[in-house]
Subunit: 190 residues, 2 copies
């Protein structure tokens, strides 16, 4: 039987721990224990917890709807709306807990871990570029007024979302989510 690497289990366990408890609130031992692997195996795969969280953020990004959606056949404004709907549905399905790992790790670690800072910045830039391209496509199709500066609006929608989720996470209510979709529709219809 080939030896199975415990690396994926550690990554999944770390995502769960960081997302539910935060970075500094859990230890390498908490992560390996929850993964059901020996603590010693951790350092065979990751040089440090600081390095691990960067890998966790990369995996989180790669599994996000922004990377996995097969939605190129959907009209661009609806496609963009569905990306946000998918994030909302995941979050609401977890009863307004956890929130976005990018916002969580960005808030907690941006000033402390340069690699985390850069990784979160890159992931939010990726989403911003994707949103901007969908808005531009909508303008070219005549579905969005040419007066919108899509290079400002795309990143703003992505950034605003992070705050909207944070608000819902503290209020444990869908109000901020509902309001953001109402504004989203109003802005994009104008």
């Amino acid at each position: 039987m080939p030896r199975v690497s415990v690396r994926p289990q550690i990554l999944d366990s770390a995502l769960e721990q960081f997302h539910t408890r935060g970075f500094h609130n859990c230890s390498v031992e908490d992560i390996t224990k929850a993964a059901g692997v020996p603590k010693g195996s951790f350092y065979n795969h990751f040089p440090s917890k600081d390095a691990l969280v960067v890998e966790v953020l990369r995996q989180y990004a790669s599994r996000s709807v922004w990377r996995t959606a097969s939605d190129a056949d959907i009209p661009p404004l609806l496609r963009l709306r569905r990306r946000f709907e998918a994030m909302r549905d995941t979050f609401v399905g977890r009863e307004y807990t956890r929130g976005c790992l990018f916002a969580n790790m960005g808030s907690e670690l941006a000033d402390l871990n340069q690699d985390v800072r850069a990784e979160v910045a890159a992931s939010l830039a990726y989403r911003s570029t994707a949103a901007t391209e969908m808005l531009r496509e909508a303008q070219q199709a005549g579905d969005l007024a040419p007066s919108h500066d899509v290079s400002i609006l795309g990143p703003f929608l992505v950034n605003a979302w992070e705050g909207v989720v944070t608000r819902a996470k503290v209020s444990k209510s869908s109000e901020s989510l509902d309001g953001s979709f109402a504004l989203f529709d109003q802005i994009l219809a104008s």
Copy 2:
């Protein structure tokens, strides 16, 4: 000489520690050491670090421009813009570090500390109500189109800001802040 309470020093030190390092990344000893007071004095004033952070959030709220501004004589839309400008200026003056304590503690602690969750929710609700009232005043003065649902727009601007700041904190750039003011002006001019 009357005995001077060290409570204010502990509160100021805790704000500094929580804002620069996060909640779980600093200990009661870090806080009392930075305050220059004996560790033992802490528990004369606060039952726990969990109770302390709630007091820190209350003090942070009470010192915010949303509570301290003497701006009732400024037209409502400009008044609202200046509240956001004041938050931006503080944040940019710190070279895009720290960010908003509400977002930071909300992200890190909303699922772990019910009192923190409620305190952050109440502070963001306070700002949302203030923003909504300024927008309503602007509508009544004929400075804002009556088509805007101010009860959705006010909270959205407050919530979006938290995400915009988080983005600037990870990108260490004014781009998201500049974009949000451009959108702010565009939405409020429409």
